[in-house]
């Protein structure tokens, strides 16, 4: 998201030798205006852990206004900001009804809005006025400090922002033109949030759960595999705090995805590493997968209550799921606070950081990663095609499940090593694969949820009219999901045909900039 080029540039800063206050005074001398008394401002910027609002084109700041909190949304394309009275945000769906909730819910969805930056500034406002003393534009000078929540404060770049008013846009453009012409005033790139984060050495927009690739095509395959696994361990650690504090369901989801990716890469590339360490790591990762699974299954279920319009008679089921979730959460916390988990991370990191080669390295270990990865992706791709071709309307669910696992393995290989190839080809291959996986994933979710409903029905007592109604509604729900599974099978046939007819691994061509590698 960049500034709308049709809008004039309205944000400036001053060069170090220029006094910002004098700039405002110089500007005031050029037009009818009034200078307001300087005021302290404190803004806390909120966004999800993976910057969903920012990436969606908005910045959300909380300010204090009298006894009330105020949330201010600033569009990143330079559009006019809007404010609404509200207490500090938690989940988007807890915001008061109105335009703000309608804007934020589709972006943040199930992710909690967390404080990302605190900005404390001294703001001086110059109001440009017309002959009726009506404000036609504002220029706000801000100087101050920024800090990450609970972090050290750093001075931010002085900003001069021209704020346009609807119906008076030409006036704002004229004010900006005059401001830009003043000595010592230079255009400033970035929004208030970006300027603040720049001051503390951060940049918004990065998804901590999708780490950037730092692989080189000529890297030894064993070193590259270690590098990939190190990154996944980083993702696990980045999400750990959110899991422990139960900030939102996606921390656990991303934690689990990184664990699964690690397991998958260990399974498919682990022969290049030290067998003893790999075996220990694989055991530990399998354990981590099993201790996080039950809570994630419950989260998926509970999210359906949030995001779908389910039968209101299922209320008692929702309560039962919430109670069960508490129990599972305690179990997970015990696991994540156990010496076994600490030791797993420590020893796994030690193995991944060690650059020693195994005593009897297989030939692939010293070959270039791009060659090895391409061969292994091709092998997995063939396996998916073979298994997929055997699936028809009568194939048992467990065989569909096995194909789903094969697709996942292929997906994780491409996710890890796809950046070594031309992005266009990788994207095309991933797109078809994702569509196939969506169908298989939905099919599997229904199967898991039908089974879980069966189990929960056994736990719930039908001794009150409400719970009896809930049990009946659960039965109806199971029936609906069975019918949806049939639809997903039909969808699978279509999507698989498209997937099989595609270019396949031929889509993976070396990047042009390192063909000789």
């Amino acid at each position: 998201m960049t500034r709308n080029p049709k809008r004039p540039r309205l944000t400036f800063t001053v060069q170090p030798e220029t006094a910002p206050g004098e700039v405002l005074e110089d500007l005031a001398a050029l037009m009818p205006s009034r200078l307001l008394a300087a005021a302290d401002r404190e803004r806390t910027y909120f966004d999800t852990f993976d910057w969903r609002l920012y990436r969606g084109g908005f910045e959300l700041a909380q300010t204090r206004a009298g006894t009330h909190g105020e949330l201010r949304v600033e569009p990143r394309d330079g559009g006019p900001p809007r404010s609404a009275r509200s207490r500090g945000p938690g989940f988007a769906w807890d915001l008061p009804e109105g335009w703000l909730r309608e804007l934020v819910v589709p972006l943040a969805r199930m992710r909690r809005l967390l404080p990302r930056l605190v900005l404390r500034t001294r703001a001086t406002t110059l109001e440009a006025i017309d002959a009726e003393a009506k404000v036609v534009a504002r220029v706000v000078l801000e100087e101050g400090k920024a800090c990450l929540p609970e972090g050290e404060a750093w001075p931010v770049q002085t900003t001069l922002r021209v704020e346009p008013l609807r119906g008076y846009e030409p006036c704002a453009a004229e004010v900006a033109r005059q401001l830009a012409a003043l000595p010592g005033v230079v255009p400033l790139k970035g929004s208030t949030l970006e300027v603040g984060l720049r001051a503390v050495g951060w940049w918004p927009g990065d998804d901590p759960s999708s780490p950037a690739s730092d692989l080189h095509p000529r890297m030894r395959a064993d070193q590259a595999t270690r590098a990939v696994l190190r990154r996944y361990l980083g993702v696990i650690e980045a999400n750990e705090d959110g899991v422990l504090r139960d900030l939102d369901s996606e921390f656990l989801h991303d934690f689990r995805v990184a664990t699964r990716r690690s397991r998958s890469i260990v399974g498919q590339m682990g022969d290049l590493l030290d067998p003893e360490s790999v075996a220990a790591g694989a055991d530990g990762l399998a354990w981590l997968g099993s201790v996080t699974g039950p809570l994630r299954d419950l989260d998926v279920f509970l999210l359906r209550f949030r995001e779908e319009e389910l039968d209101p008679a299922l209320g008692p089921l929702q309560q039962h799921l919430s109670r069960t979730r508490q129990r599972e959460r305690r179990r997970l916390l015990r696991a994540l606070r156990s010496p076994r988990y600490t030791e797993l991370k420590r020893s796994w990191l030690r193995e991944l950081d060690t650059d020693t080669q195994r005593a009897d390295p297989p030939a692939d270990a010293s070959r270039a990663i791009r060659t090895v990865a391409r061969e292994r992706i091709a092998r997995r791709f063939e396996r998916v095609l073979r298994r997929g071709a055997k699936i028809d309307a009568g194939t048992p669910a467990r065989k569909v499940h096995r194909l789903r696992i094969q697709c996942k393995k292929l997906r994780y290989l491409i996710d890890a090593f796809g950046p070594l190839f031309e992005p266009e080809g990788t994207r095309a291959l991933l797109k078809r694969l994702k569509r196939l996986q969506d169908t298989l994933g939905t099919f599997n979710d229904y199967e898991v949820q039908i089974e879980l409903l069966e189990h929960l029905a056994g736990e719930m007592k039908g001794d009150t009219p409400e719970s009896a109604r809930a049990l009946l509604a659960m039965g109806r729900w199971q029936e609906r999901m069975r019918a949806d599974m049939v639809v997903e099978r039909e969808r699978f046939a279509r999507r698989f045909a498209r997937f099989a007819a595609d270019k396949g691994v031929d889509a993976l061509v070396p990047r042009e900039d390192d063909v000789g590698a």
Partner: protein
């Protein structure tokens, strides 16, 4: 988007003061608010120091040929915009004459604002005209400031009858304004309205010179006299309006019998 209109056939009862004050309070609460100053005198537009100009003409407006969104001006206050008055509004009535389903025209003109604003407040001229009828169909609720005098009650009774006759969907929300509790007549009229359950809002706006000063300061009341008793009363009124206009189920409007009692009381008191 909710639409409120301030309306009373009588002039000088506090329509514009109510419109500008409630709009300011709504905007301060975070509602994206638009005032449509439909009174060609343009008092609300004047209060916010905005030029009274929409452009086009009455017939173009009625035909939908005027880009009303382009005419909107921001006030000095966040979340609060004004669709200004224009002198051609005087001719709106004639322009609406002969137009099929003219009562729906204003509601149709507001459609482009549906996603932009949470609340539109229409300040209506004190006339019983086609424009007023169109407002009755565009608004979710009509706020009717009423001075506690027999003649004002009589005017209110006429409004009730008119709404009934036209089958307007708008809720009528009368409330007393310019109340001077030192006057026995004001006290007795307020008591009468309560006894007859005429659906008056609880909040009543006392007479206050601060309200008159709005036209001198050209600012909303709460900007310069937030602690004035009229300002406090308007705050209560705003709370109550939100409840009665948007949240509570619609109340049964006064029956014809009650309206007749209202007319007769007004006749006796004035006779």
């Amino acid at each position: 988007m909710k639409v409120l209109a301030t309306y009373n056939y009588k002039g000088g009862v506090g329509k514009t003061a109510t419109c500008t004050t409630l709009a300011y309070l709504a905007a301060r609460d975070g509602l994206r608010t638009l005032i449509w100053d439909l009174d060609s005198q343009g008092a609300a537009t004047w209060t916010f120091r905005i030029q009274p100009s929409v452009g086009g003409g009455a017939r173009s407006l009625v035909r939908g040929a005027v880009d009303l969104r382009a005419a909107v001006k921001a006030t000095d206050y966040e979340n609060l915009d004004v669709l200004p008055a224009d002198t051609f509004y005087r001719k709106l009535d004639i322009a609406l004459d002969g137009v099929e389903h003219s009562e729906d025209r204003l509601a149709e003109l507001l459609v482009p604002f549906r996603d932009e604003y949470d609340l539109v407040l229409i300040d209506t001229a004190p006339t019983m005209s086609r424009v007023a009828e169109s407002v009755f169909f565009a608004a979710d609720a009509l706020l009717a400031p009423t001075i506690p005098t027999p003649l004002s009650l009589r005017t209110l009774a006429q409004l009730f009858l008119h709404l009934k006759k036209k089958k307007s969907p708008a809720r009528a929300l009368p409330f007393f304004s310019l109340v001077d509790r030192r006057k026995a007549l004001h006290r007795s009229v307020c008591r009468f309205a309560e006894e007859q359950e005429l659906g008056f809002l609880q909040a009543e706006i006392p007479y206050s010179s601060a309200v008159e000063r709005m036209a001198v300061r050209r600012q909303p009341l709460h900007v310069f006299a937030a602690r004035d008793r009229a300002a406090r009363a308007y705050r209560s009124l705003w709370e109550e309006v939100q409840e009665r206009a948007f949240r509570a189920p619609p109340q049964t409007p006064p029956t014809r019998g009650r309206i007749r009692a209202l007319m007769s009381e007004a006749r006796q008191a004035s006779g």
